[in-house]
């Protein structure tokens, strides 16, 4: 059987491009991540996806002083430091990034059947630890994303371990195959399993904006948009991005705000105008607790242990 290399690899001077039949990827060496994910001509990324470690402080987090203990992770969430990039095309592992003059050897006709690029981040915490995000594009043009958090002793307790994707415009809604309602590890017994269609990007209207909208144990998620920032694109037709579980189901929230935006508001009406889509895929989610709101922490088994490694993966279609 004839084997076809379907991935066109563009060895750029600051980026690595990968063109497939209906997707175009641009990985930025300078920005430290996937700068562009274009599916059938529609851009899905506003900025490069980053590891995320912060959740907007809940009332129970505040009451138990969790926010004081975890505060370092707020900085680590806002400011990402990419220290290293590793590239593998088919079986070839590059020892150096193929920028000029190394890439002078290539042409506009470079094809491969697998591209794997790993971004290594160091967290702005004391002590520091490492996070690796690997994008593996298969011969069908789908990307599997794997994030690995390296646990370390003496790190402060963690609000969340996940990846944050910011999309250029507001989604019109999303549909997922998972659990009903807003769920957390310690509050999901009452949820029913099924496929749920959500209109818009609802923010749960807690009196003080805080972590909200988490969906545990999800098999598949499809986000629908109908606008772009592209001035030459006048279409209002729906277009989609699907996130699919690889091994384990994943956890996600899909909101118009980052944790920091939520954190800064004391009332829901103070949140900025909703204009983008913030997707968090979380490998580890902290429970919300509820014994009281003035001291009791989340039960032990629903806390995230920062000394333990955490790895999760999912596929984008």
């Amino acid at each position: 059987m004839a084997y076809t290399n379907n991935l066109q690899v563009i060895y750029g001077d600051a980026t690595l491009g990968v063109n497939t039949q209906d997707k175009q990827y641009i990985f930025s060496y300078e920005r430290g991540g996937l700068e562009s994910l274009k599916i059938r001509g529609k851009e899905w990324l506003y900025r490069v996806p980053t590891p995320t470690f912060w959740r907007a402080t809940t009332d129970n987090d505040r009451g138990s002083s969790f926010n004081l203990k975890a505060a370092q992770w707020l900085g680590a969430d806002m400011f990402t430091h990419c220290t290293k990039i590793q590239l593998k095309v088919d079986q070839h592992r590059f020892t150096e990034l193929p920028v000029a003059p190394i890439n002078n050897q290539f042409s506009n006709h470079e094809f491969a059947h697998q591209v794997e690029i790993t971004f290594i981040y160091e967290t702005l915490t004391t002590p520091q630890t490492k996070v690796e995000i690997t994008y593996q594009i298969d011969n069908n043009g789908h990307v599997t994303i794997k994030m690995h958090y390296y646990g370390k002793k003496d790190l402060p307790p963690l609000p969340v371990i996940g990846m944050r994707f910011i999309m250029p415009t507001l989604a019109s809604g999303f549909e997922y195959d998972g659990l009903s309602g807003e769920t957390y590890p310690d509050r999901m017994a009452g949820a029913s399993a099924g496929t749920f269609k959500i209109k818009g990007l609802p923010v749960t209207k807690y009196l003080v904006p805080q972590e909200n909208g988490m969906h545990m144990q999800t098999k598949r998620l499809t986000i629908t948009r109908n606008t772009t920032l592209n001035n030459a694109d006048n279409s209002n037709e729906d277009f989609n991005l699907t996130v699919e579980q690889t091994g384990q189901p994943f956890n996600f929230s899909c909101l118009p705000y980052t944790a920091e935006e939520l954190e800064n508001a004391t009332h829901i009406e103070e949140l900025p105008l909703a204009r983008r889509t913030v997707l968090v895929i979380a490998g580890a989610v902290r429970g919300v607790g509820g014994i009281d709101s003035w001291g009791s922490d989340v039960e032990d088994q629903y806390q995230i242990d920062p000394s333990q490694d955490c790895e999760f993966s999912f596929r984008l279609l």
Binding site: T58, D59, N60, G63, S180, G181, E182, T183, Y184, P185, D186, R187, M188, A189, G190, A191, S192, T204, K205, Y206, L207, V208, Q210, E211, N212, H267, I268, E269, G287, V288, G289, G290, I291, D292, S293, W294, S296, V298, E299, Y302
Partner: protein
Amino acid sequence: MKANLSWLDDPEVFRVNQVPAHSDHPYFKNYREWQKQTSSFVQSLNGNWRFNFSPNPQTRPVDFFKTDFDSSSFDQIPVPSEIELNNYAQNQYINTLFPWEGKIYRRPTYSLKQKVAGSFSQAKDNTVGSYIKHFDLNPALQGRNVHIVFEGVERAMYVWLNGHFVGYAEDSFTPSEFDLTPYIKDKNNILAVEVFKHSTASFLEDQDMFRFSGIFRSVELLGLPETHLVDLDLKPEVTDNYQDGIFNAQLHFTGKNVGSVHLFVEDINGKTLLKQKVKLASTVKIENELLKNVHLWDNHDPYLYQLIIEVHAENGDLLELIPYQFGFRKVEINADKVVLLNGHRLIINGVNRHEWDMKRGRAITLTDMKQDINTFKENNINAVRTCHYPNQIPWYYLCDQNGIYVMAENNLESHGTWQKMGQIEPSDNVPGSIPEWREAVIDRARSNYETFKNHTAILFWSLGNESYAGKNIAAMNKFYKSHDHSRLTHYEGVVHTPELKEQISDLESWMYLPPKDVEAYLKDKPQKPFVECEYMHDMGNSDGGMGSYIKLLDQYPQYLGGFIWDFIDQALLVHDLISGQDVLRYGGDFDDRHSDYEFSGDGLMFADRTPKPAMQEVKYYYGLHK
């Protein structure tokens, strides 16, 4: 008698000229009125009243009650409503500390062994609402003895009619009734009510809530028939085999003592099970009437029997008709310290419920109440604690009809007198064991008991909330025990004074005790059944880990369950000029200081009565032990 402003400073003066508390039964002129649910004996005074606001007692219009007073400069205010929500006074939310924290130094009189004069009568923070209502009597009330009932007024009130002083009342959350007969006219009556935000009662009403004042519940006139059932005291019992009912009733009449009383008990098919015709007397007793094979009342099947009392004149004319629905049920603690209802283990899947409406504050409507009952039924909530005061009367009827188990709590919380910045420091605690504060709190117990004693749904009397514990709370417990053998008493604060546990509370109660500590109590030969009178604090994104509590129900029969804190966020709907939206505001959003800010919002429901996402979890866990 003349009104005396210093009553505001004296905990021993809390009711002057009030009619004694009595049962809340309705009465009608005839069967048609009952069908239409409108009694011609009742005249509502709800609506617009003349109103003047004064920032303190010194600036109030002292003579406003006089008939020649010129009130043309007065505004209008709707009754019932909160003065603050009419924007006369600042909204303030504060949890445990007193609303004057950081502004005025106060200690409860007698608490430090000395009398304090002028704490409230001379206070610059004691706002005053002067209300005037002009009214004519409905024809049906003319020529009769006429009473007036204020169902709820925060927090101290003086009443005058046609220039004559009528009476004084404290205890904001139980009805205050006065006899207007000596001064009433058919036409052109002038009712004057002076409402003070603070009195010594403020130390007893330090509930975690927005601090309002005003006539916030309905006001009505009652015309009394020639003979009137003033108090109905039903004591239905269930036999030891849980098969039969024993009907007991005491009927207390005022007015003419001639004529007869016809009493019927009917089941839901209209079948008459008991029929009695008795000669009228000031007290009529019907005792030990055995009703075979009664249908017991519970959450799943809130079966109510219809009691009908006809009061007839000597010539046979019907003077009044009293319909009342009651159920047969038995609540007890067995030898293993398990709470039983009708012989079966009782499990409380409860919530605490403040009366709250995002537009009207605590002046809630029947629509709010019905909606809340529906929410309970949809989510397997089977019990409510009336935190921390008696609720509007219709709520108890709705609970009877819908099988909602009620922990009926007194209007009592003196949190700021014993807990400061989280630490227990009871040096100025009231009511404590201070003799001068005793009668005021016993009166609160009495009013709660006498008003609601016939409600089948009430399984527990709760002495109050977070008031520490001394001899006075023990005296409240004793009041209930000496009047009612059919219910259990509850009080949590005795955990701080365990030496009083023998005298206070049939239940061991410890709010927010973590699951492992609840288990430790249950494992160690519990002396009383255990209840979490407050647990799962639902502030913001919360209600995680509920399963750890629910699991204990399967392991320990002595665990009665608990009441989630709480049902609905206390937040107020305000128009935001910046965003142009109607938005929900919480403590501190009105420049109110000292405040406890967003702690006002701990509900399973948002203030707009939509459920928080946690509700599906509650529905699930509460569905496991329905």
